[in-house]
Amino acid sequence: MHIELSDEQKLLKEMVRRFADEVVKPHAKEIDESGEFPREFFAQAGELGLAGVAVPEEWGGAAMDVVSYALVIEEVSRACASSGVILSVNNSLVCDPILAYGSPEQKRDFLTPLASGQKLGCFALTEPGAGSDAAALRTTARRDGDHYVLDGNKVFITNGTHADIAIVFASVDLEKRHRGITAFLVPCDTPGFSRGHHEVKLGVNASGTTELAFSGMRIPAAWRLGEDGEGFKIAMSTLDGGRIGIAAQAVGIAQAAFEEALSYTQAREQFGKPLAELQAIQFYLADMATELDAARLLTWKAAWAKQTGRKYSLEAAQAKLFASEMAQRVTTKALQVHGGYGYTREYNVERYFRDARITEIYEGTSEIQKLVIADWVINKA
């Protein structure tokens, strides 16, 4: 056991922190309020190799390891949670499944532009009637010779307003429930593809969340990812990896909140001394730091397990569950120690508090994580 970053990982972390502090953070407040998607940020991240961190170089990626990926998402999210999830989705939910299940042609045509940041990806699984129960999706894919024709609607699609390529999950046979679900790679300019408006949200407001609709959308069979009926497995295994990204995002948001709580409580005086000299405040800081370390270690462990070819569904679910709930507690306390100021938009902790909330919901709610974890502990231990 050696839980320390390698020299390469340290350099990467420093590089991303500098990029995040200098380029990402200055716009975080503004895009949170306007909801404007930071398309320019994604292009810059792509130039730094952050769009496909763990994708091999031959497919346009930076060929780094999964812990490095977690570091990237943490550092970007520390500056701007919207930017963090934009990157996480492109890496985990779009590049990963194409790398794992795509044909060489699909990797060339889809993965390479996505991993290099020339194109932006989105992951279209959730529907109005199919959230946690993803197998209940109603989007259909009808085979027609060398083509499929897709019809249906998706909701809450991160990056959806600006994506160039979507991974779409649709059923080739609704009777078969999850065994009918099939994955497709779809350029977003395909006729029959349309997007809704940008959802105005409580937090991560600049992540381009929108509805997608497919109406008689005709695509070549060569764009099918994996086999007919393999889509549910692809979706679930992809979400395992995505959870590492969201856990890292939660750690990044909480880290930012903790740092501001630490500096504010040392500067702010009440009762004739800095807040940080009060025991009650010290106890908050101690608990925040402890939970943050615990969440980061769970995240790194899941990343390490994935990187070394171990099973990691349990570790990823635990990291995501713990880190997201930790972020909720830490941002709540960070806001609390700021008092009334923390409740205003003048201070970043107000945004962190709103941004943290979604980490308990997307890419599998806390409740879904608990079902996954319980299944491992009760039935597979």
């Binding site: 056991m1 903790f258 630490l262 402890t290 615990a294 974890i373 299944d375």
Partner: protein, 388 residues
């Protein structure tokens, strides 16, 4: 392809030696410690036979360097062993942890060569150790202790009393902190053998849990020890105590992880077997969620503990990490045992079920070797000094 080589830096794997120790200690704990645990607990009977076997396996003085006859294991290996022992018996776990962490460790790190040669081979060979810091009037505020030590021509003379001393009735050596001057810089640490003239042990405490471990007061009445039994310099006692506690918190964190692990196992096993409303209760989401919660906090505790252990000898943040591990692991274990007992329903309130003992045993983990409150102060002090 060697996949491990593609993951430079962060590595959560155990090496072969560590895997082996974990496996051996787990088997020993299941086969040799677990069977008599319930009776020892009920009868408040010290695990003398079990400890003799552990001494033969080299588990009691496992942190003593090889040069003095010990196994000289690294802190992580030690933590793995304490965890596995505590999984089956928290009482045996603390007996082992105290001997290694708060008796052998300060002697290894602060003792003179002569003292080490005199004492450590005994501790490596199975003699138990104790640690006398706490007094009836000084718990968390250890700096205010009143036991006195005076230098005389032929040695030190100690007068005073210490409270809550683990292993009191059975230890051969005690590391004792006593006053040699004013304030915190007026404290010094000594090794007091149990056969020193003027040393005596009070009656065993009746405790809520850890009933088969030994806890009592110890008394010094013109207790005489050689000059060479001073640890470090005169006036260095508070430093010795704090550094020892930094290290020992790893042992208690490991003990809490062991208890927590057992609580999760017992909850899962009970939930699989117990049928209510026509199905095993493990089929109910309410039960699944509780098991998921305690399994997740277990993973968090274990990571914090192993992380602190793996960095304990190398880094400036070692003290903070040890306190974080101890704080979190103890709090999480208490919560986990409570949840596991809840899943056991009325049966969990009966001493027929192991979880009832765990419920009593786990309670002390947030209290001894620094309460949760003291850990938070230690952590905050580190944070405010500048290392976030």
């Amino acid at each position: 392809m060697n996949v491990l080589e593609s993951a430079p830096g962060v590595d959560f794997g155990l090496n072969e030696d560590q895997e082996l120790v974990r496996e051996q200690v787990r088997r020993f704990a299941e086969e040799r410690i677990a069977p008599g645990e319930r009776d020892r607990d009920r009868e408040h009977r010290f695990p003398t036979d079990v400890l003799a076997e552990m001494a033969e396996l080299g588990l009691l003085g496992m942190t003593v360097p090889e040069a003095y006859g010990g196994a000289g294991v690294d802190p992580l290996t030690y933590v793995l062993a304490v965890e596995e022992v505590s999984r089956m018996s928290a009482a045996v776990g603390v007996t082992m942890s105290v001997t290694n962490s708060v008796c052998a460790w300060p002697i290894v790190h602060f003792g003179s060569e002569e003292l080490k040669r005199r004492v450590l081979p005994d501790l490596a060979g199975g003699a138990l150790g104790g640690f006398g810091l706490t007094e009836p009037a000084t718990g968390s505020d250890a700096g205010g202790l009143q036991t006195r030590a005076e230098r005389t021509a032929d040695g030190w003379v100690l007068n005073g009393e210490k409270a809550w001393i683990t292993n009191a009735q059975f230890a051969r050596y005690f590391v004792v902190v006593a006053r040699t001057g004013q304030g915190k810089k007026g404290l010094s640490a000594f090794v007091v053998p149990a056969d020193a003239p003027g040393f005596s042990v009070g009656k065993p405490e009746e405790k809520l849990g850890l009933r088969s471990s030994s806890t009592a007061q110890i008394f010094f009445e013109n207790c005489r020890i050689p000059h060479g039994n001073l640890l470090g310099e005169e006036g260095q006692g508070f430093v010795v105590a704090l550094e020892t506690l930094d290290h020992s918190r790893l042992g208690i964190a490991a003990q809490a992880v062991g208890i927590h692990q057992r609580a999760v196992e017992l909850a899962a096993a009970y939930a699989r077997d117990r049928v209510q409303f026509g199905v095993p209760i493990a089929k109910h989401q309410a039960i699944q969620f509780q098991i998921a919660e305690i399994a997740t906090t277990l993973a968090a505790s274990r990571n914090l503990t192993y992380y602190a252990a793996s960095r304990s000898e190398r880094t400036s943040d070692a003290g903070r990490l040890a306190s974080q591990a101890k704080l979190y692991a103890a709090e999480a274990a208490n919560r986990a045992v409570w949840v596991s007992q809840q899943i056991h329903g009325g049966n969990g309130f009966s001493e027929e079920y192991e979880i009832a003992r765990l419920y009593r045993d786990v309670r002390v983990t947030t209290v001894y070797e620094g309460t949760s409150e003291m850990q938070r102060l230690v952590i905050a002090r580190h944070l405010l000094r500048g290392g976030a």
